[in-house]
């Protein structure tokens, strides 16, 4: 499973990072950076939580 960020949609709200800090960190301007596109096993719930948290639908999961 891959966690993908559409950087044209990311507004830097930072809400995705709160539930899933192990998958996402924020840069100095607040934009999300996916640590590794491939979601590590056991990280599926966190990935889904990150996707759900983004108010701008910038994140998606691809099987």
């Amino acid at each position: 499973m891959k966690l993908l960020l559409d950087s044209t949609r990311c507004q830097g709200y930072g809400l995705c990072q709160e539930p899933s800090p192990e998958l996402i960190d924020l840069d100095e301007w607040g934009y999300a950076r996916v640590r590794a596109a491939e979601v590590p096993s056991g990280g599926e719930d966190a990935a889904e939580a990150a996707v759900a948290a983004c108010p701008n639908s910038a994140l998606r999961l691809v099987k």
Partner: protein, 411 residues
């Protein structure tokens, strides 16, 4: 004046016919074996794979892999000749369209046959190129339905997802991937977006099977440098950059900006670098679209980096927050270095951004800007240091954002 020079061995078939002052007409193109009927598309595709033809738009992706991906996709398919040359220092695509439109259209028709596409587009922004292509289509339209789509010229308008978006009626701006055009492109159909030089090489490989190997392995390169000496050159892969510099009057260069603005700066040792995607990738550079800009002894690499970063920042399509913030921060930091106002923390930030920014925008513009910063710091530490606390005359002129330094007139 930009020269047009072939460095291919005597008698070898290339794409640069002597500039005619007009566009090659149908009869001349037929006389060199153009538009020969394609009986076995699969065999041509296998040949392209075997000879390892790489795409000439910038990324150097194997042409056969792209062709096969579109061929394998279900439903109607589309092929696009991409002639929108974003790099200000490159002229090859516009030269080909203006002077040899038939070789590009021939390549497009062969690509359609290989992929099974029934619809083709020529995508460009250059008005003389558009006139030449329309004239060529009026002379001889291949069996394929071909539309010409004109776009506004910007740095990113030729990026393949921007091409698809524009042809679909939207703005010429990149989109997030996946999907890539070969999965979902024009009208949602699997789409091959191929650079015009790539298509011209496909056509030349087909019309001159005996010369297919060298055709696949040669490059159109635009060389430029201080004082305006510039040339469009066709060279075999592996040619040392020194040869190209000498040819265009830049043999005394101290450094070179590789791949248009995409491959970063290279100093000491540049002369022995062999031209090629893999050889330049191996040293942390990139061939990109094949544009090389030499820096003379009077040029300051810091000033060049500032202008390149300012231009890229101004050309950011401002879609991705990280690109707007990142290119802006890079340009400001480099400008601080140029004006002797940068502390160690600025240099540290530049190092950090060069690691953290690549790959984060929807297209490669941010990566290009980050690589300019990184290669300046890595390869010119003494020049960067020398700017600290004192003004550099070459840097004191305010950096222009218009990319003037890098622009080359089309011959």
């Amino acid at each position: 004046m930009t020269g047009v020079i072939s460095l291919l061995p005597e008698g070898r078939h290339g794409l640069l016919v002597p500039p005619l002052g007009r566009s090659e007409d149908l009869d001349s193109y037929l006389a060199v074996g153009g538009y020969a009927p394609l009986v076995a598309p699969q065999r041509l595709l296998d040949r392209i794979a075997a000879l390892g033809l790489r795409g000439r738009g910038g990324a150097g992706f194997p042409a056969a892999v792209k062709l096969r991906a579109v061929r394998a996709a279900p439903g109607p398919r589309v092929v696009v000749a991409n002639g929108e040359e974003g790099e200000p220092g490159s002229v090859k695509d516009r030269w080909l369209l203006r002077h040899r439109p038939h070789v590009v259209l021939d390549g497009l028709r062969l690509a359609a046959a290989m992929t099974g596409a029934e619809r083709g587009f020529v995508y460009l922004s250059d008005a003389p190129a558009e006139r030449a292509v329309r004239r060529a289509l009026a002379e001889c339209a291949p069996e394929l339905r071909i539309d010409v789509v004109r776009t506004e010229h910007t740095y990113v308008a030729g990026e393949e997802s921007a091409v698809v978006r524009r042809i679909n009626g939207g703005p010429a701006l990149p989109t997030a991937k996946p999907p890539r055009p070969f999965e979902s492109g024009v009208g949602g159909a699997p789409t091959l977006v191929a650079n015009v030089e790539t298509l011209a090489r496909v056509a030349a490989m087909y019309s001159r099977p005996d010369a297919a190997d060298p055709v696949a392995g040669s490059h159109l390169v635009t060389v430029s440098g201080p004082g305006g000496g510039a040339a469009l050159v066709e060279v075999p892969a592996g040619t040392h950059l020194k040869v190209l510099a000498d040819l265009s009057g830049h043999g005394r260069a101290d450094a070179v900006l590789l791949g248009g603005l995409f491959g970063g700066l290279y100093g000491e040792g540049w002369a022995d670098l062999p031209l090629g995607h893999d050889s330049l990738n191996a040293v942390g550079g990139a061939l990109g679209c094949g544009a090389l800009h030499f820096l003379g002894p009077e040029d300051c690499p810091v000033a060049v980096a500032v202008e390149a970063a300012a231009y890229l920042g101004a050309q950011s399509a401002r879609q991705c927050g990280v690109c707007v913030s990142g290119t802006g921060a890079l340009a400001r930091a480099l400008s601080a270095v140029a004006h002797g106002e940068a502390g160690y923390d600025t240099v540290e930030k530049l190092h950090r951004w060069s690691r953290q920014l690549p790959g984060r925008g929807a297209c490669g513009l941010l990566d290009a800007a980050a690589r300019i910063g990184a290669t300046l710091l890595d390869r010119f530490p003494d020049q960067v240091d020398a700017h600290r606390g004192s003004g550099c005359p070459a840097c004191s002129d305010a950096a222009s954002e218009d990319g003037r330094r890098f622009a080359v007139p089309v011959p």
